[in-house]
């Protein structure tokens, strides 16, 4: 009985590491969060061959029991049978145990009662029936004779394990400390390695890594002394996890490799499997993709042969991630797909999350932002449900933020970004606490060593003196108290630092937001600046006509008056004069309105958009802005030159749009077109004279939609940056000349404000065409 419990306890830990770098506590059944592994996994981990031989053992044992005449011997044999049964059928083991307990109590068979009740409590723990388990332990505690200290230690250990399984680590540690005291006193070297391993798990869960490591080292030394290689392999695996937790990756890698080696020698498939899986996770964290892939695939192969779908899925996800980072996207996508399928069939949420994350990353790295979004969302949804706010959560949020940004959803982008920031904030807190832990750990190790040396000296001088041993024990306690105090102080310091960092991040975020608003305003002002020069020129043309046509009309009227008083009136001339005056008045009116529209346009552009949609003549808008843009650039850059043509569909109906917003879109497209043809012209005119910079603006109706096309024969957009042009702050213009917001605002206005679409067709060196399609 006592032999088996600690094994189950710590093998359960091994199931731990397939998902992330953290130790998950799988052996806590009902209290545990849903994403953790099937807690009973350890019961089935023995290979089929062993099971087969167990069945044979069971059969022959049953036969022996049948033939046994002595009652107490039959009970002893049944105790062995229960041990065998527990490995394959807990309920059968419990049933037989209860049955035999009745017989043993009738016979008042002391040893039988103690062993059967221990077995029962142990098996009840594994089925999650803690009340029954506790009842049996209580009973034994009172029932047991003082001379049976080994048994008593076993009972304490069972308590410790039970509380560990329930997630009550403090209680677990309390009982295991007692167990260890007892077992150390009687030099129970067979049980001690198990005790050490189990208590280390408790400390690990409480993030007390120094204590965990200390017990693991003791356990390792003892397992090595006992020559139990399988135990050595398991202990090393656990130690590697501890090292990984305190960020000592070099030691962790070393431990994993050693553990895997030992596991191979003893054919401990599960240890080997978890070794590969954990090591792969570690390399992923280190971004050593080649090694990560190699180990992940090893874990996949081994998991497949042992039928562990969860780890297989996790391994495939890690392998996919590693390949994607090596830009082998086709294979990476294939592996990630397999991972998702397997993870879903395993029904383990954390595996599903990891698989989705792998697929999302594969797509993300290929800049398939839109496609990556649902996978990231799925991953984050699961992580959030499981409250796993660690590095993977932070990274996924940051990636997701980028995805939203690239697809123009800035609100969501900011949201994800903010979550990511807040997580990295709390991540830092974990790191700070780890740092604090390391500090106290160094201190403790040093002190420990000194005390050990002192202890050894004392033992030599006054051999086996209990009082002094007690003193040394007190010393240890004192050191522990001091260390705990230092650790606490460090944590406090870390917390203060944390608060400062948090404030800083919040402050930065606030600044970021206001900067964003300022940039959008400055983009408006920048294009307004370009406009003003255009307006100054443009307004002079209509004014020229208004002034001159009104003056000349006055002259014409004077002439007409003179003609009227003449005796020989020239009626033909009079008619001509009247017709001219009339047409001049029309022209004055026309140019007056033109000036009015220009001024209004300027005011509208500088004002914040009212967001009100009104029936608008798109042709008029195009015509107005192409002129403004042209003259604006002309005024700014004397060398600027370009032809422009308008090809406007006169049958276009008025469309409900926010005129100043759409005007800004058109202005931006035209400005860009003029800019690029002019850039090309500057280069081409040095070589030949055949290049004629040309910008064409056309509108047409197709399939009930209005299409605005702005085409240029400039340099075109290279493929490399084609994807980026709609991103905010992306600009090819020299620093200070472009805000990089023009096209990104245009994109927002068209897609979000008007449910339209904007696309670009471009050929490097030949030209670019932008299409804005608006629903009528």
């Amino acid at each position: 009985m006592v032999n088996t419990y600690h094994k189950s306890y710590f093998q359960a830990l091994f199931t731990v590491k397939s998902m992330t770098n953290r130790v998950h506590f799988h052996f806590s059944l009902p209290n545990c969060k849903s994403y953790r592994y099937l807690p009973l996994l350890f019961l089935f981990h023995s290979t089929f061959i062993q099971l087969y031989s167990q069945n044979r053992q069971l059969d022959s044992l049953s036969q022996v029991i049948e033939n046994e005449k002595v009652d107490t011997t039959r009970i002893k044999l049944n105790i062995d049978k229960i041990n065998l049964l527990a490995r394959s059928d807990l309920n059968a083991a419990i049933a037989l145990g209860k049955d035999q307990l009745i017989v043993a109590e009738k016979l008042n068979f002391y040893k039988g009662i103690v062993k059967l009740r221990s077995q029962l409590s142990n098996n009840y723990i594994f089925t999650g029936n803690y009340e029954e388990a506790k009842a049996h332990i209580h009973f034994i505690e009172k029932f047991i004779k003082p001379k049976d200290s080994i048994f008593y230690a076993g009972i304490l250990a069972t308590y410790g394990m039970m509380y560990g399984v329930m997630g009550k680590y403090d209680s677990s540690i309390f009982y295991l400390t007692k167990t260890i005291e007892l077992n150390e006193r009687i030099h129970n070297d067979i049980e001690l390695p198990g005790n050490y391993t189990n208590i280390a798990i408790g400390y690990m869960q409480l993030a007390n890594y120094p204590m965990a490591l200390q017990y693991q080292q003791k356990g390792l030394a003892l397992a090595q002394k006992n020559g139990n290689k399988a135990q050595v392999a398991r202990t090393m695996l656990n130690m590697a996890i501890t090292y990984q937790n305190i960020g000592d990756t070099l030691k962790a890698i070393d431990m994993y490799e050693n553990s895997i080696q030992q596991a191979k020698e003893t054919n401990s498939k599960i240890v080997e499997l978890y070794g590969y899986s954990n090591l792969a996770t570690l390399y992923v964290g280190n971004k050593e993709w080649g090694k990560a892939y190699e180990l992940a695939m090893k874990s996949v192969d081994l998991a497949a042969t042992s039928g562990d779908i969860g780890i297989q899925a996790a391994g495939l996800a890690k392998a996919g991630l590693s390949l994607a980072n090596q830009r082998k996207f086709t294979e990476a996508a294939e592996l990630s797909k397999q991972s998702i399928t397997l993870a879903e069939s395993s029904r383990q949420p954390m595996n599903i999350a990891q698989a989705n994350n792998a697929m999302a990353t594969v797509l993300f790295l290929q800049q398939k932002y839109k496609e990556a979004i649902p996978y990231f969302e799925k991953n984050l949804e699961i992580l959030q449900k499981a409250s796993v706010f660690e590095q993977s959560f932070e990274e996924a949020n940051k990636f997701l933020s980028t995805c939203y940004e690239k697809t123009g959803n800035y609100k969501r982008a900011l949201e994800s970004y903010r979550i990511g920031v807040s997580i990295s904030d709390s991540m830092r807190s974990i790191q700070n606490i780890r740092k604090a832990t390391e500090v106290s750990m160094n201190y403790e190790f040093q002190k420990k060593q000194e005390i050990q040396e002192a202890e050894q000296k004392l033992q030599k001088e006054i051999a086996q003196s209990r009082q002094l041993a007690l003193l040394a024990g007190l010393g240890v306690l004192l050191v522990l108290a001091v260390t705990a105090f230092i650790g606490y102080k460090n944590k406090q310091k870390a917390n203060v630092l944390l608060k400062e960092q948090k404030d800083e991040v919040e402050n930065t975020l606030g600044k970021l937001k206001s900067t964003q608003a300022q940039l959008i305003q400055s983009e408006k002002m920048a294009s307004l600046g370009e406009l003003t020069a255009g307006i100054a020129h443009e307004i002079q043309n209509p004014l020229n006509f208004v002034n001159n046509f009104s003056e000349v009309s006055n002259d014409l009227i004077k002439e007409l008056k003179e003609e009227k008083v003449k005796v020989n009136r020239d009626e033909k001339l009079e008619d001509e004069l009247i017709a001219d005056i009339s047409s001049n008045l029309e022209k004055i009116n026309h140019h007056g309105k033109r000036a009015d529209a220009i001024v209004k346009g300027m005011l509208q552009h500088s004002r914040t958009s009212s967001g009100k949609k009104e029936p608008t003549d798109i042709n008029g808008l195009c015509d107005e802005y192409v002129r403004l843009a042209y003259h604006g650039l002309r005024a700014k850059d004397k060398s600027f030159t370009s032809k422009f043509e308008t090809n406007l569909d006169a049958t276009l109906p008025k469309v409900n749009i926010v005129a100043q917003d759409m005007g800004r879109v058109i202005l931006n497209l035209i400005n860009n077109a003029f800019y690029t043809v002019n850039e090309k012209y500057k280069v081409e005119s040095q070589k030949t004279e055949s290049f004629e910079p040309t910008v064409i603006i056309s509108t047409k109706m197709t399939d009930g939609k209005i299409e605005i096309r702005v085409a240029d024969n400039g340099n075109g957009i290279p493929d490399a940056i084609k994807e980026k042009i709609f991103q905010p702050f992306f600009t090819t213009k020299p620093t200070g000349q472009g805000t990089g917001l023009g096209l990104s605002l245009a994109y927002d206005i068209v897609t979000k404000g008007h449910s339209g679409s904007i696309k670009v067709e471009t050929k490097d060196g030949i030209g670019t065409e932008f299409y804005v399609v608006l629903p009528v």
Binding site: A536, H537, Q540, N541, L543, N544, F545, N547, N548, F549, E551, V552, D555, L556, D580, S583, N584, K587, H591, Y630, H631, R634, A635, K638, T641, S642, K643, F644
Partner: protein, 125 residues
């Protein structure tokens, strides 16, 4: 006297024809209109040997007035015709460049036709 007016605004034709109504009627002046720098050059090529005066706007799509000026003064005609540039009010930069390129005179918008006629010695006409 033949005057070529270069401006991308179509209404300049009506304006000039009315402003110089009497002068045109009397045959003292003849107007031609071009609505772009390119058009202007084509016309000038056809009339290579006719003495004329060019009145050109500066801001036009395609070839600008300054480019036209440069072409006229440096490449095409010998002796080059008189070129008068119409600049926007206060546009010192264009004024300077045009001067360097050999512009003979300047007008500012809105065009003062009384002043223009004085310059062309048509005031008493």
């Amino acid at each position: 006297m033949k005057i070529l007016v270069v401006d991308d605004e179509q209404d300049v034709k009506a304006l000039f024809e009315q402003r110089f109504r009497k002068e045109i009627k009397d045959g003292r002046v003849e107007f031609a209109f071009a609505y772009s720098g390119e058009d202007a050059l084509q016309l000038l090529n056809r009339w290579e040997h006719e003495a004329l005066l060019i009145l050109s706007d500066i801001n036009m799509p395609g070839m600008s007035g300054l480019q036209l000026l440069e072409n006229v003064k440096k490449r095409y005609m010998k002796p080059p015709p008189v070129v008068m540039m119409i600049t926007a009010y206060g546009d010192a930069e264009n004024y300077k460049i045009a001067k360097e390129l050999g512009a003979d005179d300047f007008l500012t918008k809105p065009v003062d036709f009384v002043a223009l006629k004085e310059k062309l010695n048509l005031t008493n006409g």
